[in-house]
């Protein structure tokens, strides 16, 4: 009978000759999304610019963005101009840093310490990006571990972890972050022989990373739970696949998608959180900079040199915006839900 012959037809929708994995399908989708590609380009440019900070400081701004330059001067249009300009009108109180020159040196002007804001912004961007990136990694890794353990093992482990997440969840993020920051920034952390100094970037990374864990761990836990009950996990159980292998082979790859979808959005969120903490002067510690601390510096100059606060704010907005756009694209490309919907029709 005819159906005894091998069924060699494949739906032609899978047009590709080489088999395409879900990853590649998603990536292809992502790279077809024009907004997402635009966002990636913007992000790459920002990262490159921040990486070029030392070059900028050395060759363009020609100043050390970490050393106070309170009695220096630069040459502008042939004239020598003080960086910190003492007020001469009236009583002559106060000293105002130079404003945006829109030239290579002091492009956005100077801050209270006479440092080049543009150069500091590039260095600050490094920190902002580093912190938000690694905080995202911390969040995702911890959330994946906690969520997976809770969801997969279930029972008492789950109850304990879920309660813990509940407690953290009910703790307004900023309050928790501020509490932790105040503690750790005044002391640093000592774990056995390792000391993390209080001005280390690891602190904001850990703090920001930790406070958002419940936000990711909860959905992950839910997902793992439903995956654990899914038909294909049941099938694997039925095949006698050991639990650990099921976890690694069947569950984690699916969780990874969720993590990837979360990543850019978390990074955007972390960047905002980092800037907020820095703004409250409990994030990156001076003289190190981040966009948040530069805004804080600028806050003191808001009335005379608003550019010091505005420029880093715009940098944050552009970066976060790009991350959010990328997040949208990644979600569209990776979200298994979207895929399911297509299947159902």
């Amino acid at each position: 009978m005819s159906d005894a012959t091998t069924d060699a037809t494949l739906p032609k929708t899978a047009a590709a000759e080489t088999p395409e994995g879900p990853w590649r399908v998603a990536l292809r989708k992502l790279f077809r999304d024009r907004t997402a590609v635009g966002a990636i380009i913007v992000l790459v440019l920002i990262v490159l610019a921040c990486c070029a900070a030392p070059l900028y400081a050395k060759y363009v701004s020609q100043s050390d963005p970490f050393q106070s330059n309170l009695d220096g001067s630069i040459t502008l249009d042939g004239n020598s101009v003080d960086i910190m300009q003492a007020d001469t009108a009236g009583l002559g109180l106060g000293v105002t840093p130079i404003g945006p020159t829109w030239h290579g040196q002091y492009f956005f002007g100077a801050d209270n310490q006479g440092r080049d804001v543009a150069a500091r912004m590039l260095y600050g961007g490094q920190n902002s990006l580093l912190i938000s990136f690694f905080a995202t990694v911390v969040t995702l890794v911890l959330a994946a571990i906690i969520g997976t353990i809770a969801g997969f093992i279930g029972g008492l482990t789950d109850t304990v972890l879920a309660r813990l997440l509940d407690v953290l969840w009910a703790f307004p993020v900023y309050l928790l972050a501020i509490s932790l920051s105040i503690v750790f920034i005044s002391k640093g952390i000592q774990i056995g022989p390792f000391t993390i100094p209080s001005n280390s970037l690891i602190l904001p990374i850990m703090i920001i990373g930790i406070v958002y864990v419940p936000y990711v761990a909860r959905p992950i836990r839910g997902q793992v739970m439903s995956l654990t009950r899914s038909d294909f996990v049941l099938a694997a159980r039925c095949l006698g696949v050991p639990s650990f292998r099921i976890l690694v082979r069947d569950i984690l790859p699916n969780v990874t998608t969720t993590l990837i979808v979360f990543a850019p959005l978390m990074m955007a969120l972390n960047m905002l959180t980092e800037s907020a903490l820095s703004f409250l002067s409990i994030g990156v510690q001076p003289p190190n900079a981040s966009w948040g601390t530069i805004i804080l510096d600028g806050e003191d100059l808001l009335y005379t040199q608003p550019m010091v606060a505005i420029a880093p704010g715009l940098a944050i907005i552009i970066t976060v915006l790009a991350l959010n756009f990328l997040g949208d694209g990644v979600r569209d490309a990776f979200d298994p839900r979207a895929k399911l919907r297509v299947k159902k029709d």
Partner: protein, 334 residues
């Protein structure tokens, strides 16, 4: 076919309840009686069909039989070994001998893994095959289920429902089990494809001497494939016997109603004499007293609501759980 006297799988008065609802909501936790007092024997080489309405516990029974669910009460013996109390780890070696094919060919295949990986998984975890063996076996399996071995490197989403179901079957037979529980393996498929898969099941049984518990809600499929049929209603088996007898001379009013409700593509018989059941199946969280079918039964009497009918033999190799079994001929179609 002669039925050997020793069952391969024996389930004795299985009970299974699920907890549903939430502690934090009105109503609290409720107990859903998915299986109550179900006994079933499966003999080597036979195909036991399992039919019944949605939610009557067919899948639950299938899963309990394979110990994918823990039963609350009862005993399951597989090849003379009591497997009721075994842990999942202890069960692992036995898995090679009993397998399952799932209803939904979409959700039962991990979308992130290649077909070859999926089918090879049992071979790898049971560690009986070397890497080259695995490849050879994969090809063999693909041939058995009529798929091109070229497909091994592809991902499930590229396949049609029928092809996916074949992949699921290939995976199930990879370790040459002697028992397969097929949980509605054709319900999600189109008619034309359904026939291919039914044929495949029958071919495989012939070639490999498999034993099936074949769950379906389509009576005609069960008739085509099953040697014996068990009819379930609300967590219990109401009738059990040789397929032809059960389907043509049903003894339980529910079986009769079920059969008469089946629409048939019979061009002439425009409207057949039908006993259409009124009402809907009751909730398994709150099953009726006595005979669970009495709320919808056309022949129910007072006794039915008080006394639980036990599954009893009727003589012609079948049993029925009814106080007033139908005269077989009355329900049979000409």
């Amino acid at each position: 076919m002669t039925i050997p006297s020793k069952p391969m799988l024996k389930a004795e008065s299985l009970h299974k309840t699920f907890k549903v609802g939430s502690r934090f909501r009105a109503g609290g936790i409720q107990h859903l009686h998915a299986l109550s007092d179900v006994s079933l024997e499966v003999y080597p080489g036979e195909i036991v069909g399992l039919v019944g309405e949605s939610g009557c516990g067919k899948s639950t029974l299938g899963r309990c039989l394979l110990r994918l669910y823990d039963v609350d009460d009862g005993r399951i013996t597989f090849k003379d070994r009591d497997i009721t109390g075994l842990s999942q780890r202890e069960l692992r070696p036995l898995r090679a001998d009993m397998q399952m094919v799932f209803q939904d060919p979409y959700s039962s295949l991990n979308p992130r893994r290649r077909v070859g990986d999926l089918i090879a998984e049992p071979l790898r975890v049971h560690g009986k095959h070397s890497a080259s063996d695995v490849q050879a076996r994969l090809r063999e399996l693909m041939e058995l289920v009529n798929l091109s071995p070229d497909f091994l490197t592809r991902f499930p989403h590229e396949f049609s429902g029928g092809q996916r179901q074949r992949i699921g079957i290939a995976r199930a037979i990879a370790l040459s089990p002697s028992l397969i529980v097929a949980d509605e393996p054709v319900s999600a498929l189109d008619v034309s494809v359904q026939a291919q898969i039914v044929n495949l099941f029958m071919d495989l049984q012939e070639k490999l001497g498999l034993t099936y518990v074949f769950i379906a809600h389509d009576l005609s499929v069960v008739r085509q494939i099953a040697t014996r049929t068990a009819v379930m209603y609300l967590g219990g088996i109401v009738e059990l016997g040789e397929t032809d007898r059960v389907l043509h001379r049903p003894a339980h009013p529910y079986t009769a109603a079920l059969i008469s409700a089946v629409p048939e593509p019979d061009p002439q018989g425009n409207i057949k004499a039908r006993t259409i059941l009124r009402g809907e199946p009751p909730s398994p969280t709150n099953p009726p007293s006595g005979c669970r079918f009495h709320t919808r039964c056309p022949v129910a009497e007072a006794r039915c609501s008080a006394e639980v009918p036990l599954l009893r033999a009727l003589g012609d190799n079948r049993s029925v759980a009814c106080h007033f079994p139908l005269d077989g001929s009355a329900a049979a179609h000409a």
